[in-house]
């Protein structure tokens, strides 16, 4: 069962090759305490931790006492654009989708990937920087609502209703087409994403960190009776 689930959720792909030597990105702005505090503020203290078992509340409390710890541990990873493999091990908890007539197929299960909390904190910091860079270059579509602070599905619905009514007023015919990309995040290709980021003009240190973060990962499936042996993961985003 373990092998079937691994094959289904993490199909083998070409592994990521880290650069032989790391290059210091002098253009990368230094990490600030408010960036770390803001990332920690978004983390729920009750969220399940990754394989090391350290919860967010421990990092929050430690950062309150001595902010220089995270301020010294995280910057080398950002400046060198590399996320070490030891921080990318994860636990993948297998949950059954409710109401399925049969649980013979891997598609009857969903997986929740739990990565180390320190990785998640840095991921949030980088995500905030990527968002700022995208806004600066006006790369975001005006109708983008997902993953943006202050916007939600509610805003998307209100905008859609407004657009439809505006067109209906002069008695025009309006149709809506809804598309859903199935398992989009599960099938993110590292090389394609890096190319898109480069073409979008994102800073090189962010591109190399994102590539490194998505490559060289390992995951351990967690379910009753699982052998709990780590397996390489080269596809998707955690």
């Amino acid at each position: 069962m373990n092998d079937v689930l691994l094959e289904h959720f993490f199909p083998p792909k070409k592994p990521f090759s880290p650069p032989p030597r790391l290059r210091l990105n002098k253009s990368a702005p230094p990490l600030r305490t408010d960036e770390i505090a803001s990332a920690l503020a978004k983390c729920s203290p009750t969220s399940a931790p990754g394989p090391d078992g350290i919860p967010y509340c421990t990092w929050t409390q430690g950062n309150k006492i001595n902010p220089s710890i995270l301020l010294h541990i995280l910057p080398p990873l950002v400046l060198l654009g590399y996320h070490p493999a030891s921080l990318k091990s994860s636990n993948s908890v297998v949950l059954d989708k409710p109401g399925k007539p049969s649980y013979e197929s891997p598609s009857s299960f969903r997986i929740i990937v739990l990565i180390r909390t320190i990785s998640k904190i840095l991921e949030r910091i980088i995500a905030a920087r990527l968002l700022a860079a995208a806004r600066l270059r006006a790369l975001l579509h005006p109708n983008q609502y997902g993953s943006l602070p202050g916007l939600s599905t509610y805003d998307a619905c209100v905008t859609l209703i407004n657009d439809v009514r505006t067109l209906q007023r002069p008695r025009l015919k309006v149709s809506s087409l809804f598309l859903d990309i199935k398992a989009g995040f599960d099938n993110v290709d590292n090389n394609t994403l890096a190319r898109i980021l480069r073409e979008g003009g994102r800073p090189p240190y962010l591109v190399s960190w994102v590539s490194s973060f998505l490559g060289e990962r390992s995951g351990t499936l967690v379910f009753q009776g699982a052998p709990e042996t780590p397996a390489p993961v080269n596809v998707g985003a955690p």
Partner: protein, 318 residues
């Protein structure tokens, strides 16, 4: 009675049939040169039986003493015992006669330390003629040496055309991996840690120019910090159930009870509530029995010194 063994199985194991001199009982000794399932045992035995009603309704054709001997090796007892009991089928109402004829088997099994492997209430016989009710007739029992090796009891194979469904019992090496105790991060002593964390210095990463070097620097820095935090964080017990009287059988009953309770909550119907109630009663009864058994074993093995500890358990420190 016949037994079929796949040829590939015989290339690694020896299977020796043993007849007990009684009709409808066949024992198979499965042996190997290598220790089996990660244990010290080189063989295990399977007793298969077909026990039928006799003219005297209190006695079946195969006696319980023959089926449930006390032996020092793993033993699995399976078969169509033709008995009905609330332990195997908790939701059915049985006649006094049916219960009386099953009691000697269940009592002898319990006395010899055998555990019933059938999930309670899962039918194994579906009569081909209309009107007759389905029932749990094909029972499986494991003795204490075999029970930790039982991984699964499953009745999911397609029908063979018989009114009895095929059953698969999977044996596997028990998981010996013991997880280290987890730190209780919510109870970290931050008051003591405050000056230590304030003085914690992260070594500079100036010399890291390759991925392995950066990885090593990161691991060392994090390990130092986490070790410091763990020193001031209490650990949880090995398990919520790390109690000396806990048995693997209770783990199964616990799982069954919570599964039934969850289903009852989701489906919210009378039948599932009854199943959950019966499951709960059986689980709590088994806990009580396990505690009693452990207490008796403490008293039986008490020495003049440990007697005072036993007294303290019973009456407290006063």
């Amino acid at each position: 009675m016949a037994a079929y063994v796949h040829m590939s199985f015989l290339s690694n194991y020896t299977v020796l049939p043993r007849f007990k001199g009684v009709d409808d009982v066949l024992a198979l000794d499965v042996s190997s040169n290598e220790p089996l399932f990660g244990t010290a045992f080189h063989s295990f035995r399977v007793i298969n039986t077909y026990s039928t009603n006799t003219a005297d309704h209190r006695v079946h054709s195969v006696l319980p003493e023959l089926l449930f001997p006390v032996v020092g090796f793993p033993l699995l007892v399976v078969g169509d015992l033709n008995i009905h009991n609330p332990l195997s089928d908790p939701l059915r109402h049985f006649s006094q006669r049916e219960i009386l004829s099953s009691i000697p088997y269940f009592e002898k099994a319990a006395e010899s330390g055998f555990a019933l492997l059938n999930p309670p209430g899962e039918y194994t016989r579906f009569p081909l003629v209309g009107g007759a009710r389905p029932s749990v007739l094909d029972l499986a029992f494991a003795n204490p040496a075999l029970f930790p090796l039982v991984k699964n009891w499953e009745a999911s194979l397609p029908s063979t055309g018989s009114d009895h469904i095929p059953i698969t019992i999977t044996l596997a090496a028990p998981s010996l991996k013991q997880k280290p105790p987890r730190p209780r991060w919510a109870d970290t002593d931050w008051e003591t840690l405050d000056p230590i964390v304030k003085g914690f210095k992260v070594p500079a990463a100036r010399s890291c120019s390759t991925p392995p070097q950066l990885g090593q620097w990161m691991s060392e820095s994090l390990n130092r910090l986490v070790a410091l935090l763990k020193e001031h964080t209490p650990v949880s017990r090995l398990s919520h159930r790390s109690k000396p009287w806990w048995t693997p059988h209770l783990s199964i009953l616990c799982r069954e009870y919570h599964k039934a309770a969850r289903t009852a909550r989701k489906q919210d119907n009378q039948h599932m509530r009854e199943v959950a109630g019966t499951s709960k009663a059986g689980y709590f009864k088994a806990i009580k029995a396990a505690k009693n058994k452990h207490w008796l074993s403490i008293l039986m093995t008490a020495t003049p010194q440990s007697l005072w500890t036993a007294k303290r358990f019973a009456y407290g420190r006063a």
